[in-house]
Symmetry: C2
């Protein structure tokens, strides 16, 4: 059977997920086409990618970088666009089959909605989109019959565990977490964590934002919310399980007490490629797990006293409405300030807690309400941080 090439638009092609996605595309260039490359500021890298992959479309979201990009690619037959209009046109281009949403944070929301309404399959690496507006996104995806393929390793694992299960109900999801670099730190030690320490993840190589999010466990809280929307499972059925080896990527327990699990090396190319090639599995040049050498997999319950962010996430999704959006906005501000070394490590959680307490509650937010709520929450968080 001849498989038609899949045209992929990469939102965030210069980031950690974006570059790994291009690695997958390069290996299977007869299967996947980098049809549109979209980045924000890293124009030098975007130019390099464009020269190598020769996409149809290249976009810089930052309009001030347009001239530089246009000039550098003037000898190639590539459409060069910019700004939010350029992003929209690229993700909605007729020839695009799938959009990989690999941008970081709230910024992924609008282009994801644009891609869904244009009927594009979504490979979702940006968890903030579902955290902020899970109800809106999933109902839109249902309406436009667009498949949503998770790219987070945990959600890809759950998706794989549900493969072939048809109507079999999920009893419980065991969402695994490495526990981050400070798993064994005391409260006292956590107060003195530096930016450099927080950027050293023990198992996964990821971008700065998600690495900090992992170290505070807010990332795992976001993943609980993401799992709720992707798999329609109540958060009370989702258990976060600390598993320091990051070999079991997540598990699903069914009614008969059977548990299906997906395991492997912690390498993002596996879930990226799975989303691109689904339902097919293609070879990858990764050393498989050798269970003879592995010797042991360990598990423990997360400590929410030291890592309260997990509780804030469960609480935000329990209350619902715009609260997960507020949670995300407060966290984006917290991480930004921590990376600027303007606030300490434990202050990040406090800032989230205070913002959740102060923000106005909207039970059934529209897209505009989300945008306003995001702005309000950022303001509260910034004020509190002063």
């Amino acid at each position: 059977m001849k498989v038609r090439k899949r045209n992929i638009a990469i939102l965030g092609s210069t980031g950690s997920i974006g570059t790994q996605a291009l690695d997958v595309i390069a290996r299977y260039h007869e299967r996947f086409e980098a049809y549109a490359l979209i980045a924000n500021n890293s124009v030098e890298q975007l130019i390099e990618q464009a020269r190598r992959f020769q996409p149809e479309i290249v976009v810089t979201a930052n309009e001030s970088k347009y001239e530089q990009l246009k000039e550098a690619l003037s000898d190639l037959p590539i459409k060069v666009w910019c700004g939010s209009d350029g992003v929209e046109a690229a993700v909605q281009a007729a020839e695009v089959d799938m959009v990989l949403v690999a941008t970081v944070g709230f910024a992924g929301l609008t282009p994801t909605i644009q891609a869904i309404t244009a009927g594009k399959a979504i490979a979702l690496a940006n968890k903030e989109t579902l955290v902020v507006a899970g109800e809106l996104i999933t109902s839109l995806a249902l309406k436009h019959k667009t498949p949503m393929l998770p790219v987070d390793s945990e959600h890809s694992a759950i998706f794989q565990c549900l493969n072939g299960e048809g109507g079999n109900e999920v009893e419980r999801i065991w969402l695994t977490a490495s526990g981050g670099p400070f798993r064994t730190y005391t409260r006292e030690q956590l107060q003195h964590v530096t930016k450099a320490q927080a950027l050293e993840h023990p198992n996964w190589s990821m971008g700065q934002k998600v690495t900090i999010d992992s170290s505070t466990l807010i990332n795992k809280g976001f993943e609980v919310i993401e799992a709720k929307w992707l798999f329609d499972v109540d958060p009370s059925r989702i258990e976060v399980l600390v598993h320091p080896q990051s070999i079991v990527h997540s598990m699903v327990q069914f009614r008969d007490t059977s548990v299906m699990a997906q395991l492997g090396q912690p390498d993002m190319r596996v879930p990226i490629q799975y989303a691109f090639a689904y339902p097919e599995r293609l070879a990858l040049p990764i050393e498989p797990v050798d269970f003879y050498k592995l010797s042991s997999l360990t598990f423990e319950q997360p400590d929410t006293d030291r890592f309260p962010n997990l509780c804030y996430a469960y609480e935000a999704i329990r209350v619902g409405g715009n609260m997960p959006c507020v949670l995300n906005a407060a966290n984006e501000v917290a991480v930004e300030l921590f990376l600027q070394e303007r606030i300490g490590f434990t202050r990040m959680s406090q800032l989230i807690e205070k913002t959740l307490q102060k923000a106005s509650f909207i039970s059934k937010p529209s897209l505009n309400d989300y945008l306003e709520s995001d702005t309000e929450a950022r303001k509260i968080a910034f004020e509190y941080a002063r």
Copy 2:
């Protein structure tokens, strides 16, 4: 949707698997019917089961028990049959949808073939059938389009891992093994193992034959052969993995290095019910695994110096032809003599090794060749044991 009741014939209803299967049927009597109960000698228990489950047909394979059985059930509208003709008629009865083959050893072969040729779905708990005549059985099942659903916990796990994978090729199977009660014994200690010790399996509650087979690891060798036939995977791709907790029931690695695993409590009702209800999963009153409390799963490579049976099994299936049949016959004799306390624990492996060396080789055996080969091998094994 109204699901039609599935009529099940149980070959070996009074054994360990048979009684657990009846436990499943009792719980879901609106889904499953114990249509035919077939046993060998345990007539008292068979009578009790017949009075409770009111099957259409009851069979004792042992003709000398017929009168007793007939007499005891004379007040009920149950057909009472006996002997190999009775067994054949029961597994081929028009109303039977599925035959659970839960007899032990070589004796399962002929009725399994009869059930397959009559187009009955097979729930296979008897691994010796595939060990002895895997090629014949799988080609017959293909010809008669009868599904073969594994009931061994490991093979059920593999089957579940392959669910929804379509044409995705298996790269490697990790077949887990508890390692049995003597996993940590020295060679010296193994020589003094008693029957009582060998009958104490650390994790699984099973019949005598399979418990001894587990303690010598021949059981795991049989499972390698069984997996080859059930999943069409070369034994060189099947790795036996010692996992003393018996929580991971087996794993499958694919080309993208992803590994799917099935986990759960060691309870045979899970795979039995899965085979009965497939593709549906029904609730079971078993305490699910609590990964918060589990703390650790460990893995190690099996030691074939202390447990050479594993090598004999790989060698028998590599050579092929009637060699796995010879392996099985020698082992049946070895276990029988050990249970009679006529030979010691380590002598069982020696007896298998010698029989494999002495038996005549047939590269393309017919059914009759298997029967003759079985007889010859038993003779050699008995002679060697004297």
